[in-house]
């Protein structure tokens, strides 16, 4: 366990350093565009998994939180000239508040009803932005990038570095939740909410906490989006695609461990980029087939496959897992 922790914290420290150094060693700009998108999905899938995976509340409102983060950043930039890091912080706060608000209104609903309510939340926010002329309304708005800070050559390279930091933060938060009392409480309410409540688990407080953290991370992932695209408009910013992709990545990666959505996001986002290059027509089909394949062949995702492979390689592993399970219980 200690070894795992050491290697995790080494990775958590190394990734931002890599994110700072790599853009300065003359690598091709295109790789940073791709890496930014992949990391953005890592954050979104990890954030989605906190509520969807750990607590079992399937959220279709990822696009709403992502879009809200993007527009919060735009408002902070346009109205106050706020720098990028302030924009991200503002987006995270607004995302957390929306998470709590949406949670209070919708968490009494369960299953498919909760999912429908999250779609409705996304539509409500998008409609509000569509009619808000200050941020361009339905016409959208072109965003002029300011001077690039911290000695980066281009804004895309800076945004890649920023996204590595957000990725590490999202992973640290997800890992902490998984291993702490919060995660155990969320698992309990996912398996049997009434039983968990009877046993003294503060279910509403935990669900609200999960909503707030998940919302804050999703909104933070959306905050650099206006500077990444240089053009923002509601239709693509609040796209249902973000919700579907985040969910699919968590499903393909596996929802029981923090590294499941990370692997799922890397696999799907990278495959999509490669497939788009190979065939402009077939790339959506390729990704769709990949998802279908995983749902049928590996319903527990990559996490399940890795666990299965470990069992096959080391027969003693099963006992260790059981022992750890009983320790938790």
């Amino acid at each position: 366990m200690r070894n795992n922790s050491t290697s995790f914290w080494a990775f958590a420290l190394a990734l931002p350093i890599l994110g700072f150094v790599l853009p300065k060693v003359g690598l091709n700009e295109y790789y940073f565009y791709v890496a930014y998108v992949v990391l953005q999905y890592v954050v979104l899938a990890t954030a989605w998994n906190i509520l969807g995976g750990y607590a079992g509340y399937v959220n279709f409102g990822t696009g709403a939180f992502f879009g809200l983060g993007a527009y919060t950043a735009l408002v902070a930039m346009k109205a106050f000239g706020a720098p990028l890091f302030v924009q991200i912080a503002a987006a995270a706060i607004v995302g957390a508040l929306l998470g709590i608000g949406a949670g209070l209104l919708t968490l009494r609903l369960k299953g498919i009803f909760f999912s429908i309510a999250t779609i409705a939340a996304a539509i409500v926010i998008e409609t509000f932005i569509l009619n808000w002329r200050f941020v361009g309304g339905a016409s959208g708005m072109q965003v002029i990038r300011p001077e690039v800070p911290l000695g980066f050559e281009t804004y895309t390279r800076l945004l890649f570095f920023v996204m590595t930091i957000l990725t590490v933060l999202a992973i640290i938060v997800a890992r902490y939740i998984e291993k702490s009392w919060v995660g155990r409480g969320l698992h309990a309410l996912r398996d049997a909410e009434s039983a968990a409540e009877c046993s003294g688990v503060p279910t509403l407080r935990l669900k609200l906490l999960a909503c707030a953290i998940s919302g804050a991370l999703m909104a933070a992932a959306g905050a650099p989006f206006p500077l990444y695209t240089s053009f923002i408009e509601p239709h693509s910013t609040f796209s249902l695609n973000y919700s579907v992709m985040a969910l699919s990545m968590a499903v393909v990666g596996g929802m029981s461990r923090w590294w499941g959505p990370v692997l799922g996001a890397i696999l799907i986002a990278s495959t999509q980029q490669l497939a788009a290059s190979a065939s402009p027509e077939l790339h959506l089909l390729v990704v769709g087939l990949l998802m279908v394949l995983f749902v049928i062949v590996a319903p527990d995702g990559l996490v399940g496959l890795v666990q299965w492979a470990r069992k096959m390689v080391g027969p003693g592993r099963k006992e260790v897992e059981l022992a750890r399970g009983s320790e938790r219980a």
């Binding site: 565009y33 998108v37 339905a138 072109q142 002029i144 695209t229 408009e233 239709h235 693509s236």
Partner: protein, 419 residues
């Protein structure tokens, strides 16, 4: 070592030089000029994107059959941007950094194209536009040359309001989708209405997912406007015209239409058939004699055959000629300058007129057409279930501007519907 004399070294060098000279044409064939672009090949804009790709492929085939450019073949590299600004910057970085394209054509559509403009300015690359609106208004990139027959909202729908003034319009109703294009056009249309002294008696924007327009059409009818300006996308255009057909818009309406996207597409036109009669709408090209620019009909004949095979809109009036012309713009500039350098090409395009199948083009300082020429057409004598009729003259009569006019406006709408 002793065999390494000066003479043998010189001989080897000359032999190498000679071989390189002979091999150059062969090598040149293997080193094509790469032209890169992206377009929506999936998603709601795919109909136009596929037209655009086919037309550009035809330009590449045509130019390669004539021996290419600067003695080199042309290779077209396209990617699917799904019409999204989240996709196009990454794609254009790939085109420039990985594919190392020599020439660039902007994505099809305003939103994905606007997202690549800062990068084009940063990299100082020439960009030829295709069907986009006010893309360079904030970036002010001096190597941007749009290829759309409009410059601002006035140039797009100004003709519609001019017609309104001609037939004595006093009251106007606005109906527009809550989307990028329609909101841009609506803003311009409202300014034009104010300038023309029209009173707005009804204004409604609707979400893009709206399918039932009966309440809105009833409300417009109740407001009794003289003119109805609609800015809509293909699916809503169809639903609005059907609602008008079922409910009626009232005898007071002298003009109906203006900014409806979809009434240029074969599938929508076929679906609506005779319900189109009387509607006045913007267009980029119609097969009228005043718009018979050199080469356009020949191109469209060939395009139709190819489009049938590739399951793309076979009329192709709205997008295809302009995408083909985007290639012609590059072709003429490269031939004239003998260079692929963006600065050289931009310098040439800034100061020269280019001949294309959509007519001669000259650009103003902001990279938009110096002489926009959006036409207002009126649908006449359209029958149901006849796709071929849209290729005939007299079915989409140009009623504005005067230099392309092929007929007078028939007004009011009820009178025009009978013709």
């Amino acid at each position: 070592m002793s065999n390494f004399t000066k003479r043998s070294v010189l001989r080897t060098m000359l032999l190498g030089l000679g071989l390189a000279t002979i091999a150059q044409p062969i090598w040149a064939q293997d080193n094509p000029i790469k032209v890169g672009t992206s377009m929506a090949l999936s998603g709601p804009l795919a109909g136009g994107g596929r037209q655009s790709r086919l037309a550009l492929q035809m330009w590449v085939e045509d130019i390669n059959s004539r021996g290419g450019l600067l003695g080199r073949k042309i290779e077209l590299i396209t990617y699917d941007d799904q019409g999204s600004p989240a996709q196009s910057p990454g794609i254009f970085s790939k085109l420039i950094d990985l594919d190392q394209v020599d020439l660039l054509i902007a994505p099809y559509g305003t939103v994905p194209a606007a997202a690549v403009m800062p990068m084009m300015k940063e990299r100082q690359r020439l960009l030829i536009g295709q069907i986009g609106f006010q893309i360079n208004s904030k970036t002010h990139h001096d190597m941007w040359f749009n290829n759309s027959p409009w410059s601002d909202a006035d140039s797009w729908v100004g003709g519609y309001f001019k017609l309104g003034q001609k037939v004595g319009v006093k009251k106007v109703a606005f109906l527009a989708a809550d989307q990028e294009f329609s909101q841009n056009i609506l803003a311009g249309a409202k300014t034009l209405a104010t300038k023309s002294g029209f009173e707005s008696v009804y204004e409604q924007t609707y979400p893009p997912t709206t399918v039932d327009f009966s309440a809105m059409i009833r409300a417009i009818r109740a407001a009794a406007p003289d003119m109805v300006f609609v800015a809509s996308y293909p699916a809503d255009s169809t639903a609005i015209i059907r609602a008008v057909g079922e409910i009626g818009i009232g005898s007071s309406v002298k003009l109906f239409g203006g900014g409806m996207v979809g009434l240029q597409y074969e599938a929508v036109m076929n679906t609506l058939g005779s319900q189109l009669n009387g509607i006045v709408n913007y267009h980029t090209y119609v097969p009228e004699k005043t718009m018979a620019f050199p080469g356009v009909r020949e191109f469209l004949d060939r395009y139709t055959e190819r489009a049938k095979a590739e399951n793309v809109d076979t009329l192709g009036f709205y997008v295809a000629p302009f995408s083909y012309a985007a290639g012609q713009i590059l072709e003429q500039a490269v031939k004239a300058t003998g260079s692929l350098d963006s600065v050289e090409l931009a310098k040439y395009l800034r100061s020269n007129e280019v001949q294309t199948i959509v007519g001669p083009i000259r650009w103003s300082a902001d990279g938009e057409w110096a002489e926009p020429r959006v036409v207002m057409i009126q649908f006449r004598t359209i029958k149901d279930g006849d796709a071929e009729q849209f290729r005939q003259e007299g079915k989409q009569v140009v009623v504005d501007p005067d230099r392309f006019r092929t007929g007078d406006l028939i007004s009011p709408l009820s009178e025009a519907q009978r013709n």
